[in-house]
């Protein structure tokens, strides 16, 4: 009888694991330097609450910087708002800006990292925009003044956003790292929130970061878009 596929696959995995273990044994006790460790960043507001949605970037200080692969992202216009209103993308990525609204939009940025403008008429697709320089790019609409979004273009090999518990984690090789935190409503400079840490022998390294100043209040979202802003 032919064995079920699942059993065969798990047998294959077991064989591969055995081979890896043999290799580690051959390396003789140096496995700790090769196996990645988990880096966990916790971001808190000044009063100790978890801060969700904070952008965390991690750069190695020992190894030569490895640039992340460019991505293709999408930022739509839905109901007179950017969706999503924040994207974190590696340097060299492209972002498409469709317009799903029944009204026209005119997206602009005067941020140093990328100055551009796109007149988005209804149903008229535009080629994606490439972002070659790292930095924060603030986006607005020249017709609807209350529309606001951000792009964070980063050259860090590790990046992400904190979850509802204010945590973000990634697996990194052991070594020294610089961790930065950014949020669109941050009132302090990014430099004040930079930390260096060493990921050593332990399998997990934790870093707790607490903001010194409270965030700006969140934009009012339930105000009708037809109102004068």
């Amino acid at each position: 009888m032919r064995p079920p596929a699942r059993v065969r696959r798990s047998g294959c995995t077991a064989r591969r694991a055995a081979r890896v273990l043999a290799l580690l044994a051959a390396l003789g006790g140096r496995a700790g330097a090769v196996l990645p460790a988990t880096l966990v960043i916790h971001v808190q507001t000044p009063d100790g609450h978890a801060l969700a949605g904070a952008v965390v970037t991690v750069r190695p200080l020992d190894a030569p910087p490895r640039r992340p692969a460019p991505a293709h992202a999408l930022m739509d216009q839905v109901n007179r708002a950017f969706a999503p209103d924040l994207l974190v993308i590696p340097v060299g990525s492209t972002v498409a800006f469709p317009n799903s609204d029944s009204v026209s939009h005119q997206i602009y940025s005067f941020s140093a990292a990328k100055r551009f403008q796109l007149p988005l008429y209804r149903g008229k697709p535009y080629p994606p925009v490439q972002f070659d320089q790292s930095g924060v790019i603030t986006l607005g609409c020249n017709i609807h003044d209350d529309m606001l979004a951000y792009l964070l273009v980063t050259d860090a090999p590790y990046f992400g956003r904190t979850d509802a518990q204010g945590a973000w984690s990634t697996d990194v090789p052991r070594g020294r790292y610089r961790v930065s935190v950014w949020h669109p409503r941050l009132r302090e400079s990014e430099a004040d929130l930079e930390r260096e840490l060493t990921v050593g022998d332990a399998d997990r390294a934790d870093l707790q970061l607490r903001l010194l100043k409270s965030l700006q209040p969140a934009p009012i979202t339930d105000r009708p878009h037809s109102w004068d802003y």
Binding site: V103, L148, P219, D228
Partner: protein, 415 residues
């Protein structure tokens, strides 16, 4: 009582900016035009004195003869892109059968909106539009999203004040460059506003939602004691101007201060129509604070005077008004309360035009969906007007108006 000479203004037919309308019609066929229509009907109960539209001195839009079903307004609005940086805007209304023409244009202008650069944004408006004073009339069509009837200050602007000219605005967008606030400067130059002040000097302050069409008239010709007037006239060859500053803290707080002077020559008279130029100037200030929990507070303040100087005399009407509005949004419902105070003084020997009063407004608005809105408003105005004694009435009046409004809106921008 015969009409005072300065109120006798014969009708003159004017064509409201035919070129702009043609442009708008062309733009409407293009891909980048948004249009909207709405119909606002009212059920009214009022014990107010005769409405200003019938020559009376009532402080509300509907008087005791208007109780029952009324047309609040029918609106047609168009916004069209003319190329990438120019756009055209039109707001046209039909109010009721007392108007000279069934449809009046309340705003029609071209706007130039270059993309912001290096944190600065410039905008230019040309045409007919409201100067940036009201913090209450922020909804489409210069309507208030809080009450049906506007505050005394903004009712006066709706009746007599419009920029028919140019306005430039320069904003520093601090909130887009990592700061907590924005700053703006605005300046306007305009003509066709020599009649501004005549309604204030005769009717005093009122609280309603009727916006005088551009080049339109207020009141009825031949009505007594107050006939028809036309606020939007130009015959003294002088342009008026205003300048203001605006500060914003995030999207929560707006502070506006503006100085306005129509620079009319108070000695000028149009010998064809008999109209006198009213020199009207005022300072205004406003503060609007919004919370993230649906609360809105608005304070506005107005202080100025209007004067005429026919041969041998100078007649002045200093005026001031304030209001405080508090509103809370509960999902699709909005509850609002407003208190208005207003006063018009005068040096006219018989006291014509002297008025002092206050008003309470309470309103519930329910936006059922993007198309339907239901509104209930209670308005009580208590005012002392010297003019009322001349029409054989008591000078002190307490007027109450209850309105139930149902509005249906549709169009390309309504979803």
């Amino acid at each position: 009582m015969p009409n005072p000479p300065h109120l006798q203004v014969p009708l003159r037919a004017r064509c409201p900016s035919a070129a702009l309308l043609t442009l708008l019609a062309l733009a409407a066929t293009s891909r980048a035009a948004d249009w909207e229509m709405s119909l606002d009907t009212r059920l009214v109960s009022s014990d107010a004195g005769r409405s200003f539209m019938d020559g009376g001195l009532g402080a509300t839009r509907y008087d005791r003869n208007d109780s029952g079903a009324q047309l609040g307004r029918a609106r047609f609005a168009l916004t069209a892109s003319l190329g990438e940086l120019w756009s055209a805007h039109l707001d046209a209304y039909a109010w009721d059968d007392k108007d000279r023409s069934p449809v009046g244009v309340t705003e029609a202008y071209l706007q130039f909106r270059p993309y912001p650069r290096a944190g600065y944004r410039f905008r230019l408006k040309a045409g007919a539009f409201y100067p940036p004073i009201s913090l209450e009339n922020r909804a489409a069509g210069w309507e208030s999203p809080y009450t049906l009837s506007y505050s005394a200050i903004n009712t006066w602007l709706a009746v007599e004040v419009r920029t028919i000219g140019l306005e430039g605005q320069l904003d520093w967008l601090g909130t887009r460059t990592g700061h907590d606030f924005d700053l703006g400067l605005t300046a306007g130059a305009f003509g066709w506003n020599e009649g501004a002040g005549v309604v204030l000097a005769s009717d005093g302050f009122m609280l309603h939602d009727r916006q005088t069409p551009v080049f339109g008239r207020v009141g009825q010709p031949g009505a007594a004691p107050l006939g028809a007037v036309e606020p939007f006239q130009q015959f003294d060859g002088r342009a008026g101007g205003y300048a203001g500053v605006e500060g914003r803290w995030l999207d929560r707080v707006v502070l506006r201060v503006l100085r306005y002077d129509n620079r009319a020559d108070p000695t000028a008279m149009d010998f064809v129509s008999g109209a006198i130029a009213w020199n009207t100037r005022f300072n205004s200030a406003g503060l609007r604070i919004e919370s993230g929990t649906g609360w809105t507070a608005i304070l506005q303040w107005l202080d100025g005077e209007t004067l005429i100087a026919p041969p041998g005399m100078q007649l002045q009407w200093p005026f001031r008004a304030q209001f405080a509005l508090l509103s809370k949004r509960f999902g699709r419902q909005t509850l609002s309360a407003r208190y208005d105070r207003f006063e018009v003084e005068t040096n006219v020997p018989d006291g014509d035009g002297w008025q002092i009063g206050h008003a309470f407004t309470a309103a519930w608005l329910f936006d059922a969906d993007a198309h339907w809105r239901v509104a209930l408003e209670w308005l009580r105005v208590r005012s002392y007007s010297y003019y009322r004694t001349e029409v054989a009435g008591p000078p002190l009046a307490t007027e109450t108006q209850l309105q139930l409004g149902v509005r249906y809106a549709f169009g390309s921008g309504v979803r």
